[in-house]
């Protein structure tokens, strides 16, 4: 080390570098991906606070948070997956599958609901592993693979439910053993003052925290960024890209399991046809939150902000009591504006930082 030190450029040791313009802490903050999205979220919040009277009630806040959390729980792993460079179109129906399996297993086997919950976890993780292994084995685009699983799960949900229950919905398991305990875990809520806070909010925040930790502070996180940013290069320096991707699909499956159990234990009965199309809400939340569609960039917190923007917008339009025929129009316009604002803020921050 010492032998080489004199070769160092003299300017190097000095802290400040003349090649850098000074940059304030506030500006640094604005440069972060997720904090760009926060500006969008604040704008949407202020907008609806003005445009919709009931939006500012505490009880509405609980509703908006709940709506955001149901999307947000899935948006977290979907964001990780997108950072890892892949898609999962089966995420939406997998939630329903997970709920159906849990419910039907418990009912048909007359087992304790916890047994059903456990079986559902295993099967759902197997779905995730199937997605991942197919992807890395066949090297087909994830769009195709998960589209296949999406269609197959949709068919399975309906076909099996009708085969077993005779209708498109499951039988009630509300009177079975273990149901109340499982409901406490997956579908309870606390009332604080006039606000009704669902347990999904806690799940959501917990998942965001864990995912952020994993992304930024663990080897797995490093590998996720690398797998999405440049899979070939990552493989060349020894990153287990295939294993990372399979893991990501299983993370999606795990969160689908949580969401599915919430669905089951809050409504007791599961409709087999639901969940189709929700995969796009998750992707939307992740993209609004700053994830790149092409992989290699994004954050879990961003996905949470994205889910929150989506939740606020979709419920805010209802609170504002605008003409429901135009609901989608307003939703599209608001999302576009929020993302534009976010991008604009970020670009400003970068240019002048």
């Amino acid at each position: 080390m010492t032998g080489l030190a004199p070769l160092l450029d003299p300017g190097a040791a000095a802290g400040a570098d003349e090649r850098l313009s000074p940059r304030s802490a506030a500006r640094r903050l604005l440069g972060r991906p997720e904090l760009g999205a926060v500006v969008g979220a604040v704008a949407v919040f202020v907008f609806f606070a003005v445009a919709a009277d009931p939006f500012l009630h505490w009880s509405s806040f609980g509703t908006v948070l709940y709506a955001s959390s149901t999307i947000g729980i899935m948006a977290v792993p979907v964001a990780l997956l997108m950072i890892g460079g892949e898609f999962d179109l089966s995420a939406g129906v997998m939630v329903t599958s997970s709920a159906l399996i849990s419910s039907m297993f418990s009912y048909q086997m007359t087992a304790d609901t916890w047994v059903g919950v456990g079986v559902s976890l295993l099967v759902t993780l197997a779905f995730g592993a199937f997605n991942g292994i197919m992807l890395v084995r066949t090297k087909l685009p994830s769009f195709i693979i998960t589209l296949g699983t999406f269609l197959m799960l949709t068919g399975l949900n309906l076909g099996l439910t009708k085969l077993i229950s005779g209708t498109v919905a499951t039988k009630s398991i509300g009177d079975m053993e273990g149901f109340p305990a499982a409901r406490d875990v997956f579908a309870s809520h606390w009332t604080i003052g006039s606000v009704d806070l669902q347990v999904t909010i806690a799940w959501w925040l917990g998942l965001v925290a864990v995912a952020t930790w994993v992304l930024l502070r663990t080897r797995a996180g490093n590998w996720i960024f690398a797998a999405g940013g440049n899979a070939e290069a990552a493989r060349a320096v020894g990153v287990p890209v295939a294993r990372t991707k399979v893991g990501l699909y299983m993370a999606v499956a795990f969160c689908a399991w949580i969401s599915g159990q919430h669905l089951l234990f809050s409504f007791d009965v599961v409709q087999s046809g639901e969940g189709v199309g929700n995969e796009f809400l998750y992707i939307i939340a992740a993209v609004i939150g700053g994830c790149l569609m092409t992989g290699g960039y994004g954050s879990a917190i961003g996905s949470a902000v994205g889910a929150f923007i989506f939740g606020m917008t979709s419920k805010g339009i209802v609170y504002a009591q605008w003409n429901p025929d135009w609901f989608k129009f307003f939703l599209g316009a608001m999302l576009l504006l929020a993302t534009l604002l976010n991008a604009w803020v970020r670009r400003r921050a970068e240019a002048t930082a």
């Binding site: 080390m1 080489l4 070769l7 160092l8 450029d9 300017g11 190097a12 570098d17 090649r19 850098l20 930790w213 502070r217 663990t218 080897r219 996180g221 490093n222 590998w223 960024f225 690398a226 940013g229 440049n230 070939e232 290069a233 990552a234 493989r235 060349a236 320096v237 020894g238 990153v239 287990p240 790149l292 290699g296 960039y297």
Partner: protein, 287 residues
């Protein structure tokens, strides 16, 4: 991982090459990139692979690094025959590589790229986490020693200049190279000072007992540090020399395929030999 467990051999014999390729071949689809190439890498020696563009040098490197499996021939590490199915296996055998296209992830910060695939951690169980401070410090240091004074190890590596990126890749390989260091045109994008530093590193690695494979187009560089020279031509071996057996001039001539740099110098200082206008061929020859 460093001790081989082949039957009948307890430890690499002195003189057993660290890496030995014999009659290796590799095709990409119907393109035969490499045929019948043999090469030995000995501890404490630098093996230079030289050859024209497209001769198959990088392909050879990729086989050693485990990025591509070889189609024919044998590949032995410490005398034990291996068949790497992923670069991880080569890394675990102590073979670190600098690829010509660098293998970096443009959007990731420099320090994350530096340690990618071999991240140091601290803590235990669920609290096991990246040792971020150490990673940052090591990166900055390793680059500084190479003469690259980075403003910010947190900037995405994609925003570095070509040479800066090259230095990160080299510093990484040097840091992780345990037994064999493989370098594909490491000095191509580098300035005079940085090239010098890299050659110094290569020499230091050699002196520390590592085996080094160096690919370069610069005969001066090659002759300066190389111990043996393997020449490739259109996918086949066209020669293999020890340093003792060849002069710089002969090496340069072999690399240039007969034409000489001196001759060129002469030519360039005269009025041009090339009569063509620079904007292309005349119309007749086109279609």
């Amino acid at each position: 991982m460093t001790t081989p467990h082949t039957l009948g051999k307890d430890a690499p014999q002195p003189g057993t090459p660290l890496v030995a390729l014999t009659g290796v071949a590799k095709s990409y689809g119907n393109v035969r990139a490499l045929r019948g190439v043999s090469l030995e890498v000995h501890a404490g020696q630098i093996t230079c692979v030289l050859g024209d563009n497209g001769a198959g040098k990088s392909t050879l490197i990729k086989i050693i690094a485990g990025l591509h499996p070889h189609d024919a021939g044998t590949y032995a590490v410490d005398g034990e025959e291996v068949r790497h199915s992923s670069p991880r296996q080569a890394l675990d055998r102590g073979i670190a590589t600098v690829y010509q296209d660098l293998a970096v992830v443009p959007l990731m910060p420099v320090w994350r790229n530096f340690f990618l695939g071999s991240e140091p951690t601290k803590g235990r169980g669920p609290l096991r986490r990246l040792d971020v401070a150490a990673m940052r410090a090591t990166t900055r240091e390793a680059l500084a020693r190479m003469g690259i004074d980075l403003r910010d190890v947190d900037q995405p590596i994609g925003t570095l200049s070509g040479g800066e990126r090259q230095c990160v890749a080299i510093a990484r390989a040097v840091h992780f190279g345990a037994k064999v260091l493989v370098l594909d045109e490491p000095t191509a994008a580098l300035g005079v000072k940085q090239s010098g530093m890299v050659l110094k590193y290569v020499a230091a690695a050699r002196d520390a007992g590592l085996g080094v494979v160096l690919i370069t187009h610069n005969p001066h560089h090659a002759y300066l540090v190389g111990d043996r020279f393997v020449l490739l031509k259109r996918g086949t071996m066209s020669g293999s020399h020890l340093k003792e057996a060849i002069t710089l001039d002969a090496l340069t001539r072999e690399m240039a395929g007969g034409s000489e740099l001196d001759e060129l110098t002469h030519e360039l200082s005269r009025t041009p030999a090339v009569t063509e206008p620079a904007d292309g061929a005349d119309p007749e020859t086109r279609a």
